[in-house]
Amino acid sequence: MTTVARPVPPRPAIHPSQMGMWVFLATISMLFAAFTSAYIIRRVAADWVPIALPRILWLNTAILLGSSIFVELARKAVGGDEWSSAKRWLRTATLIGLAFLGGQMMAWRILVAAGVFVPTSPHSSFFYIFTGVHGLHLLGGLLLLLWTTRRIGGPRPPVKVDARRWLDLAATYWHFLGGLWVFLLLVLWAL
């Protein structure tokens, strides 16, 4: 028991949206951790026939990682108070992100043309699930980028703190999806 009054500690610094984003990324990580464990267990069965991954995937990977650079450029622009160029960089990143999704669809079409469908082999089943679920998350990321662009470049001058926060959130999510894709591709390619 103390008898001295203690000073009131300051309020915690972390913003709820940032916290929420990290927790959300943790849930996505657990989702794909489960998929990966299933993959590792399933691949030792006798019927595991690896499929030839379409080469366009490597190009797609480069495109997606490239889009992250533009998101960072937008962040740098916002740091320098150049809101209109930030908006331009974000638009570019969004378009490149769309190109990635288009490239993934191309990969699906190449496989379908080669007669590789969802149930063809466990490897192809996993391929379609990995790319599909990742693609859905990326679609969410594109919406987040669009939303952020609107916050930055609306008709009225942007509320700076608010726009920065959205940009930080979008960037965190977008980079995470890039890293996640590299991981998934490595699993599909190397394991």
């Binding site: 028991m1 103390t2 008898t3 001295v4 009054a5 203690r6 009131v8 500690p9 300051p10 309020r11 915690p12 972390i14 913003h15 709820p16 949206s17 916290m19 929420g20 927790v23 959300f24 943790a26 849930t27 996505i28 657990m30 989702l31 794909f32 951790a33 489960a34 998929f35 464990s37 299933a38 267990i41 399933r42 069965a45 006798a46 019927d47 595991w48 969802v118 149930p119 466990p122 089943s125 699930i129 679920v133």
Partner: protein, 582 residues
């Protein structure tokens, strides 16, 4: 903005106020509990009088009760739906989402959850999920029948049993909605606790209720996504011809299936990777709530606050690596079995410490046996009884004998059923005055408690012995087994006790409804408790606090402080007036 400016719909239906959402969750959960409870009555009806004709039931279930006689397919669908509804749609909704929403912002001094709109969205997705689950009863072929664990191949092949068709698809859809909503809710609680605490509310001053919701939410958001992954793969097996969970050579309805290479064990692993932590998602809040109820009725601080928090964390970490003890008879390697046995024994240590701290919190207290306290005491008894059975089941050697018997049914009803049920009732009786501004009737509450406690022991303790005698779970009837002739009597006792327990919940319902309108007006702090919500009017206004947030000056359990005039000191009383413990 005051809530008076909002219309009825925004205030009470599509509300973003955490208190309204909490109450919405609670009422939805109780509605689902009524359905799940009635299903339990049907199950026990059939066990007591297998194959007997109940003409009036045919009107409700023309398919499953054709001619008034329960079909075995309908029986197993009932068992499946009882488990699913009680675990996910009653306990999760009322105890975790309901009281979590209601209590966490109030007890940490926040105006609302971190993301109020997301919170509203969670509730409405949850409501949709409950609706889909209920609708599956009316699907062609009836509700899902693969057990609440949805093991393939029953859950993976549409033609396996009647419930494997549309019923199972709806089950999966409802679970997908549930997971989305529950994960969003957990995320909200975590963000709220980390970023929404009032000035002075350090982590070490948080009530144990808040701690338990925080830890439970962390386990929840980490454990549910793997089930989502498993459910996606199961949907692919069902509809797109993949073979994640289906092996070669399966013959269903006289037809050889085209699957190969998959294994149902993969599903079991993924399911229990969620399924076991889920037990703690439900039970930790139950334990946390009791730590807040007890001191109000012993007038002394809780015992071992910090150790309890550490034990929560230890239980949370360990809960993620013990799932294999649900699968000892799956043919796993003896070394894995040994590992899971040992880890299960390890997790009993922090659990037992939590139990000891509850007893320590009673020791030397000036105990007042009001209704919430009775339920809290009953909970400690259940936690002990259930935990004791768990030691047997956690040992691979004993489990080989007891697996899939009524011993397991008895055990998990004490833990995930009983501990959480009594915590739910304790919280309703304890926080009802805050929620609705009126007291519940104490005499009816005590009657409800004793009837529930005694009948619960008659049901589930008896089931332990029925299981020891070798009775397998999920069987439609036990008429054809000579070695089970001797347990006819105990089975009848269980059924009668189940009907008594079901009927005694009517007392609770009557008390709840009557007290809403006719109960004695509640003062601000009827139990003379210390946490922040008891400084607010009952019910608290929209936004909870006035112009300024409360300043927290001390921990949550300042009872009978030597320097204080009253035997309790609210968390907001300045430390300069009455010295703070910490």
């Amino acid at each position: 903005m005051s809530d008076k400016d909002l219309g009825f719909v925004r205030r009470y239906i599509f509300s973003t106020d955490h208190k309204i959402i909490g109450i919405q969750y609670m009422l939805t959960g109780f509605l689902m509990a009524a359905v799940g409870g009635l299903i339990a009555m049907l199950i026990r009806l059939n066990i007591a009088w297998p194959g007997k004709q109940w003409a009036f039931l045919e009107a409700i279930f023309p398919q499953g009760m054709a001619g008034g006689i329960m079909s075995p397919e309908f029986y197993i669908a009932l068992v499946t739906m009882h488990g699913t509804i009680m675990v996910f749609f009653f306990i999760s909704y009322v105890l975790v989402s309901g009281f979590g929403n209601y209590l966490v912002p109030l007890q940490i001094g926040a105006r609302d959850m971190a993301f109020p709109f997301l919170n509203m969205l969670s509730f409405w997705i949850a409501a949709a999920s409950a609706l889909v689950m209920l609708l599956s009863f009316f699907a062609p072929g009836g509700a899902a029948a693969a057990g609440w664990t949805a093991y393939p191949p029953l859950s993976a092949i549409a033609s396996a049993v009647p419930g494997s068709g549309m019923g199972q698809t709806l089950w999966l859809l409802a679970m997908a909605l549930f997971i989305v909503s529950f994960t969003m809710g957990g995320l909200n609680i975590i963000a709220t606790v980390f970023s929404g605490r009032a000035p002075g509310m350090t982590m070490r001053r948080m009530p144990l209720t808040v701690w338990s919701y925080l830890v439970a939410s962390v386990i929840g958001v980490l454990a549910f996504p793997p089930l989502t992954a498993a459910a996606i793969m199961l949907l692919f097996d069902r509809h797109f011809g993949t073979s994640f969970f289906l092996p070669e050579g399966l013959v269903v309805a006289g037809e050889l299936l085209n699957h190969q290479g998959g294994t149902p064990l993969l599903w079991q692993h993924l399911f229990w990777f969620l399924g076991h932590p889920e037990v703690y998602v439900l039970i930790l809040p139950a334990l946390g709530i009791v730590f807040d109820v007890i001191p109000a009725f012993t007038r002394k601080p809780v015992f071992g606050y910090r150790i309890t928090v550490y034990c929560y964390l230890a239980v949370a970490a360990l809960s993620m690596i013990v799932w294999g003890h649900h699968m000892f008879v799956s043919g796993m390697s003896p070394y894995s079995g040994e590992y899971f046995s040992v880890m299960t024994m390890v997790i009993t240590i922090p659990s037992a410490i939590i139990g000891v701290n509850m007893l320590g919190s009673l020791w030397g207290g000036a105990i007042r046996l009001k209704t919430p306290m009775l339920f809290a005491l009953g909970l400690i008894a259940f936690f002990g009884t259930g935990g004791f059975g768990g030691i047997f089941l956690g040992n691979a050697t004993a489990d080989v004998q007891l697996h899939d018997t009524y011993f397991v049914v008895g055990h998990f009803h004490f833990m995930i059923g009983g501990v959480t049920l009594l915590a739910t009732f304790a919280s309703v009786y304890f926080w009802f005055p805050k929620m609705f501004g009126r007291m519940m009737n104490d005499k009816l509450g005590k009657l409800h408690f004793w009837l529930t406690l005694v009948s619960f022991y008659c049901i589930f303790l008896t089931q332990h012995f029925i299981g020891l005698a070798g009775t397998p779970r999920r069987y439609y009837a036990f008429t054809d087994y000579e070695f089970l002739e001797g347990i006819r009597g105990p089975q009848m006792l269980v059924s009668v006790a189940a009907f008594v327990m079901g009927a005694s919940q009517l007392i609770f319902m009557a008390n709840f409804c009557w007290s809403l309108w006719k109960g004695k007006k509640a003062p601000i702090n009827p139990w003379h408790a210390t946490t922040l919500e008891w400084t607010l009017p009952s019910p608290p206004p929209h936004g909870n606090w006035g112009a300024e947030l409360p300043t927290v000056e001390r921990w949550a359990y300042e009872y009978s402080a030597a320097e204080a005039q009253d035997d309790f000191t609210s968390q907001v009383v300045p430390a300069s007036q009455i010295p703070a413990t910490f």
